[in-house]
Point group: C3
Chain length 138, copies 3
Amino acid sequence: MPTEKTALTPATHTVPPAKFSHGVKKGNILQVAGQVGFLPAVEGQAPTPAGPTLREQTLQTFANVKAILEEGGASWDDVMMMRVYLTDVDHFAEMNEIYNAYFEEQGLTQAPAARTTVYVGLPKGLLIEIDALAVLDN
Amino acid sequence: MPTEKTALTPATHTVPPAKFSHGVKKGNILQVAGQVGFLPAVEGQAPTPAGPTLREQTLQTFANVKAILEEGGASWDDVMMMRVYLTDVDHFAEMNEIYNAYFEEQGLTQAPAARTTVYVGLPKGLLIEIDALAVLDN
Amino acid sequence: MPTEKTALTPATHTVPPAKFSHGVKKGNILQVAGQVGFLPAVEGQAPTPAGPTLREQTLQTFANVKAILEEGGASWDDVMMMRVYLTDVDHFAEMNEIYNAYFEEQGLTQAPAARTTVYVGLPKGLLIEIDALAVLDN
């Protein structure tokens, strides 16, 4: 049975500058592209991080992931896997604190997602990037 | 049809210290979080790597991934993708040797999983991290 | 219902040197292993990159991913997620240009895949690695 793959482009996001989608959904699988801590897009302005700190960028990144999930009719409860890319091993404890507090607030009703955290290079000024794989109810 | 996402927490693992799961299963999709070479959890003790060598850590990491698969009723034969994170390009050949010998012993009956290996930063003392995506029979 | 997981080994690829598959397919999920810019395999010769430049390696990497998709009866339109691993942040703009032009030419009929780009270490001489997750029509 043919199933359409659709792009998820929340109002807070620019139309992607390259031939990729911020998120896609096909059948019950939803994939969120790597999100960073950019503030909601403003036409004619370059993307701007929410701030220089890990906290500001992490919370904005979560908001960006969530906007894409919601655009696809999903919620944090549908997320199976989060990949967290940090630039500095010394940020791990603080990221975990922010992560825990955030998901505490979100009121998950199912098991939290699995997660992998690794330390990579990111464009200058960015401290965190997150992508997510979700499986929706059939 | 609503489908519950459940956490997979083998007896060898601690309850996760943060709002993530060691593994989750929803429908026929099973995702294993990034595993490292920590020995089975001992209450009241900090997580301890199986040893300082790549061999010790790789074999323990495999054991940790496998425990989560089994907790979800899956086996290595269900694994579609393994992501292997190493800290040192010079470890690739040795990791491959250990990898091949291990999966030889496991007696796979289906095609081995796809794999990506990249070189990243990991917390001090850790040489390898692996996560896995499995698709179970319907 | 048991579902076989099958290996995808295009004619352009060697039989994998380790216990992994270039790609696997099970049910409607297809996973492509990390591909790099190696030219089609020639028996008795070591794998050789298409060239030293980002452009040569990126285009060859795309060809290698595509060969595996096609071996599994899939196309770029089925790809949900591409993970792009670069070694140098300064390569991002050029990679995007190559990426856009390539997918323009491929004539996608559905939303382009989501994507994450991070900067990691790769074996000497390699500038890019890409893996892909596809969901086929049911």
